[in-house]
Amino acid sequence: MLAIDKNRPSPAWIAALRGQFPTETEIDRVLTRRMQRRSGPGYSPLPLDVLVSGVESLICSEVRDAFKVSDARWLSGGASKLQMAFTLSWNRPGVGPERTPMVLRMEPSESIVETSRLREFQLIKAFQGVVPVPPVFWCDANGEHLPYPALIYGFASGVTKPSASVSGVSGLGTHLPPELRKRLAPQFVDHLVKIHTFDFRRADLSAFEIPSVGSTQCAEWGINWWERVWEEDHDEDIPLMRLCAGWLRRNMPTLDRPVVVHADYRLGNFLFTEDDSRISAWLDWELGRVGDRHQDIAWTTSRAFGHLDEDGKTFLTCGLLPENRFLEAYEEASGLAVNPKTVHWYKVYNDYMMVTLLLATGYRIAHGGKTHQDVLVTWLMGIGYMLLDEMRTLIEEA
């Protein structure tokens, strides 16, 4: 067998993986695009001027009146996309002349998580008025105006952690004081319920496919997605990852009800206003799909996103509330049952996905110099081993 050069993938190898791991059409499109471009140049620093020009070009294609982009500046936060804040002075439809603070969210050359800007755009738009989300304005799905695919949304006020607190990158390791937890936890549950009970069939979600009820198609699409990425990106192989892929396929749950899954529903991905402790915006919808609610429920309870209570014994889901209380509140508010066995399966699935992103894609893109923050991507690889061990424990317990 010929050695495969993953940094210069051949068309035949790309085609073979697409055939081996069928998934949703839009997911296939973005994964194929990144592999076709992988042998190209890495990420080079982009001056703000270039992004401003791209933003102006995109807005010009959508807005007829005169406008002005000003106050452009870099934002940090998040591990996957470039973000630039700016102010748009324009005649906003239905509002009139306005100076609107906005954010450009753009992919680097390759991202730690390769996703579709169109899907992210459609999801945020669908949830306007359902749960707090930033207003979303325009999408450059194929990078026709900007160097890479991007979207523009309104700047939402709020913080991801108390201003005085200390946390790790991407909001991980954030500790919230007990009083704040009491205020945020009910909203955290309520918003998840609203997402899972949302009538997605009435929204424009044309970039999504709906898995069939009463089958394992939903689970299979998910495993195919991440096993494909593991094959495309990993450097050092890991026997436990091979075991996990096999275990997931042998134990796939059937889908009882398709819902919108946020897929990154956790502390660090919502903003809240500090004066009244109100969640003001849910961010990072890029991994969202129409799928199984148990995926979100399992995700929020990951060890990576929580911490121990002050008693040193009780683990708090997303640093907000104990897992049993979280599940009780969810079931009561949604009327949807939580199947512990399916949650367990999705915990393993989520760990498989996370380890793939951290240890396989993280390595591959940093090696290729593909992002604006390779040092962050490399740093985050360190979480992978804790999650691998969590995965191992979960499989042993099953």
């Binding site: 500046r73 870099w74 934002l75 940090s76 936060g77 790790g168 990158v169 991980l172 390791g173 050092e236 192989d237 890991i238 026997p239 436990l240 990852m241 091979r242 075991l243 892929a245 096999g246 275990w247 396929r249 042998r250 060890r303 990576a304 929580g306 911490h307 121990l308 683990f315 604006h372 923050q373 040092v375 962050l376 490399t378 740093w379 360190g382 979480i383 081993y385 804790m386 691998l388 061990d389 191992r392 499989i395 042993e396």
Partner: protein, 181 residues
């Protein structure tokens, strides 16, 4: 050689802390975050540097143990048989590498990579055409060996601060010394 990487890392960290970081534009959040991440990465490297060879030898020993078990229990169709045979060859080579007292760090690291690859392919093949009884034994062996290795991997990354209960993780020096003893 007087110019030792430990000294070089220490000097780079001091320059970044004393000179570069204070000069980074406070409004440039990306630059602020990345400067601190470079400092953190250098600190992690300083801790890993003197232990990396020992860590890799330790892992290779564990992978060879796993390969020995898989060779005994992995039974199945043609794909499993081919993968087990390849693993056996790689294991023979890796045992020789480990036993050669003068094998350099790069050789040991390559042996670790090779053993990870071949044992992974045996596990993959067992789900394709392995015997049902063999599958259970393979799963048991991988989970057991992974537990020991992942404890070391987590300890290796302890400084980064991800662990919710860091006190529960032994220090990497202690884990590696326990093996040596």
């Amino acid at each position: 050689m007087q110019m030792h990487p430990a000294l070089q890392i220490q000097s780079m960290m001091k320059a970044l802390t004393d000179v570069v970081l204070p000069a980074v534009d406070p409004a440039n959040k990306l630059a602020q975050e990345q400067t601190r991440l470079v400092l953190g990465t250098l600190a992690l490297m300083a801790q890993h540097l003197p232990l990396r060879f020992q860590f890799n030898c330790d892992e290779l020993t564990r992978l060879l143990k796993l390969a020995g078990i898989l060779r005994q229990v992995a039974r199945g169709g043609p794909q499993t048989t081919v993968c087990v045979d390849k693993m056996a060859l790689a294991a023979t080579s890796a045992v020789g590498t480990l036993e050669r007292g003068q094998a350099g760090p790069a050789v040991i690291e390559q042996a670790v990579r090779d053993m990870r690859a071949v044992t992974s392919q045996v596990v993959r093949s067992i789900y394709i055409d392995g015997d049902e009884a063999a599958l259970k034994q393979v799963e048991g062996a991988v989970l057991t060996v992974s537990r020991d290795q992942l404890l070391r991997d987590r300890s290796w990354m302890l400084m980064q601060g991800w662990e919710p209960d860091p006190q529960a993780i032994p220090k990497i020096q202690d884990l590696l010394e326990a093996r040596a003893a």
